[in-house]
């Protein structure tokens, strides 16, 4: 994502840019609801589908307002290396005629707001089927404030530390996916596994629903990736084609591996490949060429396949819907591969001065910083919430399901 430039507020705004960014913003909103809500909702058991959908919706709504209150300002206002300032808190000083990055600032604000929203919504997947509703909200608010906002500032603000180091993260692979996936892992570890874990099968209750969610995520992701060009220009077109092809490669890689190793390629595998390919190409989509995108999509997909199998068995954490196994692992793979495939010999737009090894190092640094920062904040936030309010619902509520016990309703009826 291009950094927010406030230099030329009086320049004429191109309506084609505005048209595309209005569309992109609603596409990113659509990724959260219904996208993630459907994807996660379909993957849990029928007794908990409303609870995850509620968590996604409420976290989104909450973060949109917090973004208004201080998130936007702390991220994009002011010149600190680690955090911004409060000058634009509550949209102070912004009017319909304000501009940012060549767009009406309200639009730029909205676009960025939907990124904050989906980042927090993604975490819900790791915590599914056992966490108190209030605890989900509290945990998310703390993480948003102390992890999302500073990391976004460090990576995207012109003065941000990682930005000045030269870390490449076109659309948010590190800020969004590595960041959120790590928080999910820590949260899930603090929560402990679901009570029936290992004893009964925790099958998705409605895979077609999850498939629709994944499909809408793909569609919406064009807003996320091509929208991060902040303009209807050639970079947007590049990000678009990269997003299209990396995802196709992600699907085929996952299904191919399943066909070889398990004989039966699965729907859950196919949609996991969709997400993995999308996550992988996110940091790279403005920098690598279409063939590089295909490679990244396939490699990220295989990395995530390992993430939800081998790595998951190693970690022994009940990351219920694989927020870490897909978003963090895919995000790490993507960030590192961006360093490689951006080189012009591999079709990237890295230019002459681009040093693959050097860039790889910076990318790795950005990943490690993000992982560490996010994990630390998630740990402290989770412990605080546990101590003050408690993290888990009672066993009886967990057994009966969160829909009836926490929200007083059932998903399905005759």
């Amino acid at each position: 994502m291009a950094p927010a430039l406030h230099a030329a507020p009086l320049a004429a705004i191109n309506k084609g840019d505005v048209a595309w960014m209005l569309t992109s913003t609603l596409l990113v909103l659509m990724m959260s609801i219904p996208g993630v809500a459907l994807f996660y909702g379909g993957l849990v058991r029928a007794k908990n589908v409303l609870s995850v959908m509620m968590q996604v919706l409420t976290v989104l709504a909450l973060v949109l307002l917090l973004w208004t209150a201080y998130g936007y300002s702390l991220t994009f206002s002011g010149g600190g290396a680690f955090i911004g300032n409060f000058d634009k808190a509550f949209l102070d000083g912004i009017s319909a005629s304000s501009q940012a990055s060549g767009l009406p600032e309200y639009l730029y604000f909205s676009f960025q707001a939907t990124f904050a929203g989906i980042s927090c919504a993604l975490i819900v997947g790791a915590l599914a089927e056992r966490m108190k509703f209030g605890a989900v909200l509290a945990f998310t608010v703390l993480w948003f404030t102390f992890a999302y906002v500073p990391v976004a500032h460090m990576v995207w603000a012109p003065s941000g530390w990682l930005h000045t180091l030269g870390a490449l993260d076109f659309a948010g692979g590190t800020v969004v996916h590595v960041n959120a996936g790590m928080a999910g892992l820590v949260g899930a570890a603090l929560l402990g596994p679901r009570m029936d874990m290992g004893r009964t099968a925790m099958r998705p209750h409605n895979l077609p629903l999850a498939m629709v969610g994944a499909a809408l995520l793909w569609v919406g992701w064009f807003g996320f990736n091509a929208g991060s060009a902040l303009s209807a220009n050639a970079t947007a077109a590049l990000a678009f084609v990269d997003t299209l092809l990396a995802t196709a490669a992600g699907v085929l890689a996952w299904l191919g591996a399943e066909a070889v190793f398990r004989k039966r390629p699965s729907m859950l595998g196919g949609i996991s490949g969709v997400i993995a390919g999308l996550v992988g190409i996110t940091p790279a989509c403005g920098n690598v060429g279409p063939l590089g995108a295909i490679a990244i999509g396939a490699l990220a997909s295989l990395a995530c396949l390992w993430g939800v199998n081998g790595l998951k068995r190693l970690l022994r954490v009940d990351d219920a819907l694989d927020a870490f196994g897909i978003h963090a692992v895919g995000g790490i793979a993507g960030a590192l591969l961006t360093g490689i495939f951006s080189v012009s010999a591999l079709g990237g737009n890295g230019g002459n001065g681009f040093g693959m090894l050097h860039q790889f190092g910076i990318q790795a640094l950005a990943v490690v910083i993000t992982l560490a920062w996010s994990a630390l904040v998630a740990l402290l936030a989770g412990l605080l919430v546990k101590w003050v309010y408690g993290l888990r619902v009672s066993d009886e509520h967990e057994r009966e399901g969160l829909d009836t016990t926490v929200h007083g309703e059932r998903a399905y009826d005759d």
Partner: protein, 118 residues
């Protein structure tokens, strides 16, 4: 009037895809009433395996159909034969038939009793 004959409840657990054939066979022996329930069966027959994000396991229950038919004694054997033949594939999992004697039958519409109620 066959109101005096003893009445039996015949419960058959069969494969779902055999329902149509069994119904046809019952119609052929002039049994037109029956009640059907979707059930899950555990038994010698083993289910398929399913995989979800790395977790692979055998599904140990299988969808079956429970078919309940109430008939008078004189037609019991005909019904048993009809079901056994029509539901038969010869592979493990074909299911069972249970017969339970019934004390009383009432047709709700007319309050008729026993054999007349069928």
């Amino acid at each position: 009037m066959n109101g005096v004959l003893p009445v039996n409840l015949i419960t058959s657990i069969i494969r779902p895809h055999k329902l149509d054939a069994v119904r046809q066979a019952l119609e052929d022996v002039d049994v037109n009433g029956m009640t059907v329930t979707e059930v899950r069966g555990f038994g010698r027959q083993k289910g398929h395996t399913e995989m979800y994000r790395g977790a692979e396991y055998v599904v140990d229950f299988l969808p079956k159909i429970k078919l309940e038919v109430v008939v008078t004694d004189d037609r019991l054997q005909a019904v048993l034969d009809a079901v056994q033949l029509a539901a038969h594939t010869g592979k493990v999992g074909d299911g069972k038939i249970f017969v339970v004697p019934i004390g009383q039958v009432v047709r709700i519409r007319t309050a008729e009793l026993d054999g007349d109620a069928l």
